[in-house]
Assembly symmetry: C3
Homo-oligomer: 225 residues x 3
């Protein structure tokens, strides 16, 4: 990752305390979109939060490159973000890569496509988010076209260094340029959410809890459900 | 719920002992249909059985209402049945509503659409059945149009007070008017099933067990597999 | 199963040690295809490996037969492979069949279609691989047309005695005629995979581990990811 696109460590640590819906609400409030449609956790209760290391695959043709060797260049804490054009008929991630990634502190993987070797992935509880699973290899079917460029994941533009956060609800991408701004708003949203929850837990009606915290009328952060 | 559409408590208690496939077979036998296509449990091994409290959402437009405040009006034991037109791009249920519902004895939620905050929902083991999960809020995208009216869930008409039963296999809706009739037939079906199972467990061939219980030839309840 | 299509017991035992992706890679290498698209384990961490016992269903019409009675004829260790034309609106497998199959040593079930009674299937941890789950019975909707013929499962031709292997990643069918050949290649592939893994675990870069084992350049088995 380019040094000028490195987020401050504290920013990432703060994001790790947020859940994906709160980040989504903050993005909404800032008129940003980054929700990855139909990308799901392969292993329940896994979690990812880190800056994107992007990879683009193309179908094999006159150009044939390699598959997977890029993994040596991913820094600890980064997330492998792989654009395989949404294909669910051949995989670009499997057991050796999962083992390697776990061992080297790679934060996780997000694929616009599918992965395999789910037995190993489940054992490792490796955080990987995809369109599903299949067993057919991408080798001799697709090839790495570019590493570190702009990619498309489920219709969202992702650039190296963008922040990628995923949990049981799904995955969202926060543009590098807006990360600190999104963080500030998301933290406000979680504060209001906690206030509503506290009132609700003490027996207040939801309608009243929302009214007291300005859910429907004020322009304060307000997208809890 | 209207008092005249309240099922006897014993009826609901009896339904709770049945699994969804047996109810489906009884509906079949009575030429009724209520199976919700592609609606699934968000958390494995959760279960719902209760009368419907219906809510209808529409996309935001010139009319903009609220989201979620209806929850205060759901009675303990009822099931929130939310028609969001099958949309899977914005949610109408999340963490605060799940916590509130658990706390107030709401039996569960069924959505023709999606929900979010799956971390919390999994921790609570809250019984919610949807078309999937996403993180983008419905707030400022959809609005409650009507509470307590007739709704469409996965192509099935649902009215307030209809009985909604869901388990690992899926969700089925029993019209209020037919609940007692469906119950009687479903209980007969389970009795025959248990007879077949007992014979099979004692070593009898399935073909013979079915013959002895009249599976293929008689008009008795017979849809076990 | 016809005696002339019975695999040697040792062959099946050896296949049981392989995971589905390795078998897929061996099939690839031999220009064979047998991956079942969109067929998934109903219960996580279940596994199937055995020869196919095939069943074909057709929609009810002027011909109406039975459902499920074929189960008495499946031999221990065989896999029920049921072609219901990919239908996900009615089921051809449920609780009694799962209990019967578990009791009689049937290895598992693969359906181009859906099953029901997931509560029981989960309790049994019965290995069943389908397009999903639903509660509506196939009884009076579909009927067994042929047992022991050639069937289509997710677009793949399956014949009685073909080897069917399924795990968390998915299901693959190895034609009876090629089973020993596929086994030999798959074992070679797993050997190379283990070599790469050992090097990676001892700290070698993936690129170098692949180079030393001939992953990109040689014609040796090479489809690990």
């Amino acid at each position: 990752m380019l040094p000028e696109r490195t987020l401050r460590k504290e920013v990432i640590e703060e994001f790790k305390k947020l859940d994906v819906p709160s980040i989504s609400d903050a993005m909404d409030k800032l008129k940003l979109s980054g929700a990855l449609y139909h990308i799901k956790a392969v292993v329940p209760d896994t979690y990812v939060c880190g800056q994107a290391f992007t990879v683009h695959y193309i179908p094999n043709g006159t150009i044939k490159g390699t598959v997977g060797d890029f993994i040596d260049d991913i820094l600890p804490g980064e997330v492998a973000v792989i654009d395989n054009n949404g294909r669910d008929d051949c995989t670009v991630w499997g057991d050796i890569m999962s083992i390697y990634a776990s061992q080297h502190g790679i934060a996780g993987t997000v694929i616009d496509g599918v992965c395999r070797d789910i037995n190993v992935i489940r054992q490792l509880k490796y955080p990987i988010f995809t369109k599903g699973t299949y067993m057919v290899t991408g080798k001799d079917r697709v090839t790495v076209d570019k590493v570190g460029g702009t990619v498309s994941i489920a219709g969202v533009q992702v650039n190296p260094g963008d922040l990628v956060c995923g949990d049981n609800t799904g995955v969202i991408v926060v543009p590098f340029e807006h990360a600190e701004e999104v963080l500030a708003v998301a933290k406000q949203i979680e504060t209001v959410e906690q206030q509503i929850l506290q009132k609700v837990r003490s027996g207040m009606k939801l309608k009243d809890a929302r009214k007291q915290t300005g859910y429907h009328t004020l322009q304060t952060p307000d997208s809890e459900q």
